[in-house]
């Protein structure tokens, strides 16, 4: 295992070191003079502190559509990972592999059609 994935482990190590080095270096050389208005939350053209208390809550109520798209995405993602080993093995398999995959993809298309007909694929 290590002969093939040793280098992957080294890259994983580098993936942590590589962003850390410039962060540390800039931490050493950059100026550090924070003040209240610099550290205020960014707002277009207005001072954030001038906002009434209830408007200072930046939390936005998101529409449920984000969640629905994520749900459709999970379903498709799970189905897609089944396609990959099938695709690798396909040339060695017979006609039955094709038929089975058409059934599989047909059901996937059915799911897509259902979501489409219910207007879920549209961002309104």
């Amino acid at each position: 295992m290590l002969d093939r994935y040793g280098i992957v482990a080294i890259f994983a190590l580098l993936a942590v070191i590589f962003p850390a080095v410039p962060l540390l270096l800039s931490w050493v050389i950059r100026p550090k003079k924070p003040n209240q208005s610099k550290r205020a939350t960014y707002e277009c053209g207005l001072e954030f502190e001038d906002f009434p208390e209830e408007a200072q809550n930046v939390w936005v109520q998101f529409r449920v559509q984000y969640y629905l798209f994520a749900l459709i995405f999970v379903v498709f993602d799970v189905e897609v990972v089944y396609l990959y080993p099938w695709a690798v093995a396909y040339s060695a398999l017979g006609l039955f592999a094709l038929v089975e995959m058409i059934v599989f993809l047909g059901i996937l298309l059915l799911a897509l059609a259902y979501a489409w007909r219910n207007g879920l694929l549209e961002w309104t």
């Binding site: 960014y42 939390w59 995959m101």
Partner: protein, 356 residues
């Protein structure tokens, strides 16, 4: 010609032999020597690839501005160095010496880690990229899926940036970026399946070798797959016309509104790394990777990748931004059905040609 072609593999072999001789002299067991040499070589390869990546990003920053200037009939950067070539270096220095501002109400730790999580997947993706003949850091049998899986980690970084900044523009931008990334990941993943069917392997090295006769982009199914891949890749890396997550006329700068200094620099670097990686993947899967006559393999690879990058920049400068409803509709109602049909078509054609 052959010397140039094997330039980097020869350097690798020479250093490897040198290290074997050096560490072998300490009287350790053969097993330990090979492990240490492998670790040192891995670190060297990783560092070399990352330095190359940083170099590529520096050229891309310059190239992007020059292409933009050309399209808009301007001159572009021309003050720092000849043709403004030193401009990216000046930009980098600026990133280093700018103050790091964290909003008072932000979640400091999440704010700090977000750019790291955004950049780390890009570094990991380099592991399987075959930069030339015999020049892939690792030839994994799950190569294509490796790149897809590590780049899906990047969405967590976007979430962290949106949440950690405690700013409504950052939050909106982060949410939009994630919604867009997951919507375009589906066609991107589906459209690679025909290539796997043709090559019968997920290893990027094998896929390139199978294209020695004909690049997959010249097959009808390959061409469809390539177009779908390139469009969804541009959307995946949030480039114009798919730059809604950071549409400056609506939500300031999206998820990096509250980022400054080197933290912003890391996001910037990650964006260009990702752009470079999707172009190298497109080159590998559809344009025959390092294959090509006369020139050394690695030069072919670089030329093809830069061709795709310049195409992306050209598109960015030409096409206006999508609306969010158009964006989602395009992914789910156009690209996904096309790539599903393309998979079935490829499978049918393969059966037809095998028996007929």
């Amino acid at each position: 010609m052959d010397i140039l072609n094997k330039l980097f593999t020869n350097i690798y072999d020479a250093i490897n032999a040198f290290l074997n001789g050096l560490i072998g002299g300490f009287g350790l067991t053969a097993d330990a020597v090979s492990a240490i040499v492998a670790a040192v070589m891995g670190l060297l390869v990783g560092t070399a690839v990352l330095l190359f990546g940083v170099g590529v990003v520096l050229t891309l920053i310059w190239l992007e501005r020059k292409v933009a200037a050309r399209v808009q009939d301007r001159v572009g950067p021309n003050r720092v160095g000849p043709f403004g070539l030193i401009q990216p270096v000046a930009d980098t220095v600026k990133m280093f010496i700018k103050e790091d501002i964290v909003p008072t109400n932000a979640d400091g730790l999440v704010h700090l880690l977000a750019p790291v999580i955004a950049l780390a997947p890009a570094v990991l993706a380099f592991v399987v990229v075959p930069f030339g003949q015999g020049m892939a850091p690792a030839d994994l049998n799950i190569g294509v899926l490796w790149i897809i899986s590590v780049s899906s980690i990047g969405t967590i970084g976007l979430f962290m940036a949106g949440y950690g900044s405690n700013n409504k523009f950052a939050l909106l931008g982060g949410m939009r970026a994630v919604a867009q990334a997951i919507s375009y990941e589906v066609p991107q993943v589906l459209t690679i399946v025909p290539i796997i069917l043709l090559a019968g392997s997920m290893s990027l090295v094998t896929i390139v070798q199978k294209q020695s006769a004909i690049w997959y982009v010249f097959l009808p199914v390959g061409l469809i797959a390539f177009v779908v891949y390139y469009i969804s890749a541009l959307a995946e890396v949030n480039r114009t016309p798919f730059d809604l997550p950071e549409g400056e006329s609506e939500i300031v700068a999206g998820h990096h509104t509250e980022y400054s200094g080197m933290k912003f620099g890391l996001f910037y670097l990650a964006e260009y790394f990702n752009f470079f990686i999707v172009c190298t993947v497109a080159t590998t899967l559809f344009l025959g990777g390092w294959q090509g006559p006369f020139l050394p393999s690695w030069l072919w690879f670089i030329l093809k990748t830069y061709g795709l990058i310049i195409l992306g920049m050209w598109i960015r400068m030409t096409i206006p931004r999508f609306r969010v409803d158009q964006l989602m509709k395009f992914a789910w109602q156009v690209l996904v059905p096309i790539s599903l049909v393309n998979i079935i078509l490829t499978a049918l054609l393969l059966v037809f040609f095998k028996t007929g």
